[in-house]
Symmetry: C2
């Protein structure tokens, strides 16, 4: 008898959670991703800040899944879904592949959005992929090199200014890490400029950074950032990004590097399925992540918007994707094996955390709110223990921790420049 075929698009946290739930089930699993690697997104900002190497936070999907004989991995970009023929169509680079499915899980995440100002992208790159991160790293390191060679004080000051737009966790972590890097690690390496002159500016449109955290932790984070030398602008509306810098209201702040951490837009899953999307492009799914009117199709993670059994909206974070993926995997398992369906989905908030540099963090577990060094250690443990799957956890953990603690110097490579 042919085994049911489960096609999972996207090998992020959500997609891999589905695989994990089904790894021993009598199904054939196909994982399609347009990249060959799973990315540990919460640490991506560290690649951009030249602290970690790409290979330290990315693992080939084939390696992760090689021990599971019922899993096939395909590298390709999904272009459309035919829900009546139950078929996914993907561009494999040299040809189009049609992949039939019995169950389809879309876990394709999101990209950054410029709210209609797409021309800002060339000037203010966002941070979603390894290539984004190395591009930001190159840009920032080149700005230091140019400043070292310049004799124009205004130009030096512009080149040494790094503006981070968006005060969510990514923006906060980015600003803190860059400030630390510039003020500590680089300080002995230049002769004509003093990297301590570096201005790191964090720009948030709303009244406070880390708006999804309790107010007290927001102000703790802002203070910790200021201690690291970051200038924190809140209630500040970016009206333009151009070659000279970033414009807040009508005031230009000259900046050599601008990083976009302000908004995300879901992948085009809604368009593939021909269903309604919300303003951020997310598919409105049922409480069990299924898509109304589309048989055996589920959407999870960043690319879906879901309200759980308690009426809570599942946040677009790794834990949301993981828990959603697990739930969908158990549902598929139940339908196939005739076992009872899992209990209605309830999002368990495992806590919200953000680091500020290498020695401070804020953490919100609902019942417990923390800031400072202990929160930082918790951040490290939670990220490393709970989020990596499958294998090599110890090796990867030690490697990361080592790099993280020593602020390894070898990663500050400028590559891809002729």
């Amino acid at each position: 008898m042919r085994k049911p075929k489960v096609v999972i698009v996207g090998a992020g946290f959500g997609g891999l959670a589905v695989v994990r739930a089904l790894q021993k089930a009598p199904v054939d699993i196909v994982v399609i991703d347009r990249r060959n690697h799973h990315l540990f997104q919460p640490l991506l900002y560290q690649v951009a800040a030249a602290v970690l190497s790409p290979a330290e936070i990315a693992t080939p999907i084939r390696s992760l899944l090689s021990g599971l004989p019922n899993v096939t991995v395909m590298m390709g970009e999904v272009e459309s879904v035919d829900t009546s023929a139950k078929q996914v169509r993907a561009n494999m680079g040299d040809h189009q592949e049609k992949v039939d499915y019995d169950y389809l899980v879309l876990a394709t995440g999101s990209r950054h959005t410029y709210f209609g100002n797409d021309h800002w992208e060339a000037i203010a790159p966002g941070l979603k992929t390894i290539d984004d991160a190395t591009a930001i790293r190159n840009k920032m390191l080149l700005a230091f090199e140019r400043a070292e060679m310049s004799s124009d004080p205004e130009e030096i000051s512009r080149l040494l200014t790094i503006a981070v737009i968006g005060g969510g966790p990514t923006g906060v972590e980015m600003a803190g890490t860059i400030s630390e890097l510039a003020h500590a690690a680089l300080s002995r390496e230049f002769r004509n400029i003093n990297p301590k002159q570096t201005r790191v500016i964090l720009i948030e449109g709303s009244p406070r950074v880390l708006a999804s955290f309790p107010e007290k932790l927001s102000s703790a984070a802002a203070n910790a950032l200021r201690k690291l030398g970051v200038e924190v602008y809140q209630n500040a509306r970016v009206t333009d990004c151009n070659a000279n810098g970033v414009v807040i209201g009508d005031k230009l702040i000259p900046a050599g590097t601008i990083i976009w951490a302000a908004g995300v837009q879901a992948s085009p899953a809604a368009a593939w399925l021909g269903v309604e999307a919300d303003r951020a492009g997310r598919v409105k799914v049922e409480a069990n992540f299924s898509v109304s009117g589309r048989e055996n199709v589920f959407v999870i993670g960043d690319t879906a918007t879901q309200t759980d059994a308690k009426g809570k909206v599942v946040p677009g974070v790794a834990q949301g994707a993981i828990q959603g993926g697990e739930h969908v995997g158990l549902q598929i398992l139940a339908r196939i094996t005739g076992k009872p369906a899992p209990a209605p989905f309830r999002y368990r908030n495992m806590g919200n955390m953000a680091t500020i540099g290498r020695h401070a963090a804020v953490a919100d577990f609902g019942f417990l709110r923390m800031k400072g060094g202990l929160a930082w250690w918790l951040w490290g443990i939670v990220h490393i223990f709970f989020l990596i799957g499958f294998r090599n956890r110890l090796a990867v953990m030690l490697h990361w921790l080592w790099s993280f603690l020593t602020l390894k110097r070898g990663v500050r490579l400028i590559t891809g420049v002729k």
Copy 2:
């Protein structure tokens, strides 16, 4: 009193050896390199073969030299030298910089050459920089992905064929490592293809691989390669490289990845100086590495051709560059301080070594010739202990050794692909 200014172009093994010799001297040193990192070239093939990460074999020049207050580092590309004005002109990306010198050392190395067939470069990339290495890695890994998705047996066989052109140390090491990777590490990760079907072909134009080694070691290397599954073609003339594969004589060998390790051409130092170059573009220097008719100018390493006091030609290897750099540094020191000049230069052959995969190597120390596992260990020790400079030697050594011994899996990233 103004300190004499020593300008060193190129922060490879040669350039850094000059810095080391002069680090405590009463001179101002300027190091100009078009990249921001020193590259441990002997292990570059391991980045191409997806064994090591770029950051494991490259270190920012500023980091290496940050402890030396008399050294200034500039990232820029030299465009010309005015030997009468004693001035180097370099493109800094946004402007041209003129750098005055009292002493000039050119240590700008070489690139690969296609012997007039420059159109082969797009098809058969060479291996000199980090970007070269990641481009080869991407190409090879993508070929595996395409093969996995193909249903055409001929196309699969072509995609799984990797041809390495040139049987010198780089070619031999590349072929051995790729073969090992394909046959061992990848074997469990694909479903439709069997990476054991991979054909790795090494093509050498002369009668034997490792032509600079004694004949016995050449045949030991060829045998060790064959044991690893590499097809070794000797006396084989490549007449064309195209999208289908590589042509030997008039026979096409279909291949999905072609790697060029066949010839090198010196950097344009001769043109900058307006002096004669040999067929490989190298500047013919005096026995003390100075350039006849060009006051206080020295050329070392790959970009020079020199005959030492014993009538021996210094080989274009790391040791040649290092010993030359040290000698030039001592000469400059002598001229500045009035100390006696160093004894005439004699190249000390520290041995020629090449690895074949992770467990075999050939080594030629003149008085001692070795092959097999012991030679491999020696290769590791010599490369790691003798070739890295300045600092972090232990940390880097452990890191490399660990990656090397465990054939770390995380590095097989395909990046830079939209």
